[in-house]
Symmetry: C2
Amino acid sequence: MAGYPSIFVTVDIVVLTIRGERLHVLSIRRGEPPYVRRLALPGGFVDQDEDLDTAARRELNEETGLDIGDVWLEQLRTYGAPRRDPRARTVSVAYLAVLADQPEPEAGTDAAAARWWPVDELSPKRLAFDHATILADAVERARGRLEYAPLAAAFCADEFTIAELRRVYEIVWGRSLEPANFHRKVTRARDFVVSTGRREQRGSGRPARLYRRGGATQLHPPILRDTSLSS
Amino acid sequence: MAGYPSIFVTVDIVVLTIRGERLHVLSIRRGEPPYVRRLALPGGFVDQDEDLDTAARRELNEETGLDIGDVWLEQLRTYGAPRRDPRARTVSVAYLAVLADQPEPEAGTDAAAARWWPVDELSPKRLAFDHATILADAVERARGRLEYAPLAAAFCADEFTIAELRRVYEIVWGRSLEPANFHRKVTRARDFVVSTGRREQRGSGRPARLYRRGGATQLHPPILRDTSLSS
DNA sequence: ATAATAGTGTCTCTTAGACAATATTTC
DNA sequence: GAAATATTGTCTAAGAGACACTATTAT
């Protein structure tokens, strides 16, 4: 295989969460060229003896100091335009990660420059490399995954109410949903959520039942966005 | 970036077509170790100054000699387990390609060892590297894409009948479909197929209208597998 | 005429969305 | 009690599958 070009392989992770009713992404202020002071997705080089998923998990931990006990992590796609990094030829395997709301990343670590940004405040110009494209693809993927996978529960704390789950859909999709119909759909989907039997007061009004994540990996039946608008 | 590990980046392409009422995949008999005489997916190294999609297209052409004027080509996912290739650390960006039925690949080229194999005759043991996994993922992706994208038409010649399109669904999904309902769904989906106005006799019976691919990139509404079996 | 396939009509059942109605809290 | 939110009930319309029916060809 001597003579063949070898290339730097990185992972970049789009970490999404919801804070204060808005979708946020974790980004890092770059301290060095290229793209000094621009924002970048957390990521880094894949080690020589490391699986891609493992690399993503490691970088997420190193660069953010987040507790990533159960994080939703899935491969998004791979970006390899020849000049996407002006320093050298790199190919980046991008990941989508979803977390429940977290405290601000800890200072004093690699994560010092890490910050949560509302996705809709990040104009493409502010992001380094091709990270604006990666972010856009990730958000689109997340929107789609909500229909067929129990991704929404990953945005929630360990125990949550149906209304909180609905807020996830509403925020990520950017549209409001009928509480009554949503409730029925979620509880009908097999193993999406499991009732804890307990209730809890969140705000005013009747207290809601608490649920936790069920074992499903797919939603049956799916919870679809209304696509009839485009017909 | 000196000091960081550099890695070989390859593309591997799962080329699917339908021949004689069965789903086939293009594979290449390996002539050298590792995995001598085992079957492998067409693919190769990404050049230093080449986009990933371009590399996939180039390899497809070089290794198969196929006319790839309009081929369906989409990135599948990236495989990077540390020891997936015993010679060196490689990361492979896998692609799914779909073609209309083609003549047997030409001899005398790189494609000499290329052959179409029925997918269901390829036991995982016969495939080199992690290509059995890649193939399985690709077939699963294709099955899913049929629901939401006009992928089925890529399996057909330039002009085709609704019945031919239905056979694609039936073969890839492995289940039979109601001709009447299928006809309605396909013609209702916007810009999936466009009538040529002409008709053609294919076999006995009333001649069928000929269609060609429409401009849609998504199917509205989708053509769903009946998922009620799993409810 | 009979067989075969293309394409349309129609019936029934399920599901989605709209929204009324009830339940259980806080103020 | 009034307001707020949770949860259930019900109505209606659209879509899916089943299948009867018509259309157009070969034999």
